[in-house]
Symmetry: C2
Subunit: 95 residues, 2 copies
């Protein structure tokens, strides 16, 4: 699965309103209420990341979790990133 084109990225981002482009990655910050909520959100990401064998960078700062997705092996964004972004949006919607 290779990198997707800029046009494909733009189309995919149209469907992911909470995500922003950041160089070779896409990022979303989720407000989880407090520190415990932030870590619980990270825990919910584990099974979907493991199942996809695709692991986002995760930054916890008090109540906020910033998720950063990129496909390092391809040097940029692939369909795997947007598939995982969609799953993470579903997890975030539970809050």
């Amino acid at each position: 699965m290779g990198r997707i084109s800029e046009a494909e990225i733009a189309t995919a981002l149209d469907d992911r309103a909470d995500w922003q482009r950041n160089g070779d990655a896409i990022v979303r910050t989720v407000d989880c209420g407090d520190f415990v909520g932030a870590v619980e959100f990270v825990n919910r990401i584990v099974p979907v990341a493991e199942a996809a064998n695709h692991h986002p960078d995760l930054a916890i700062s008090w109540k906020n979790v910033t998720v950063k997705l990129s496909t390092h092996s391809e040097g940029g964004l692939t369909e795997k990133d947007f598939a995982l972004a969609r799953e993470i949006d579903s997890l975030a919607a539970i809050d």
Copy 2:
């Protein structure tokens, strides 16, 4: 509990060999073996952070967790940071 002096920071860092100064903070990166191990380490930090009412910034990148401690309310490093660093070192030693 206010900011500690540069001399006190230097002395405290002498006891925390795995931590580096980073501006107004101290940081340590812990290799947890894999992504699941990294998230497990973050979970172990939760009760000690909650008990201290002091919450590090935590960055997970695959197998690595980077812990960043600072006392934002004081605008710099306090004894709370080094107390929590000591507890986190104990948790990291379990790996």
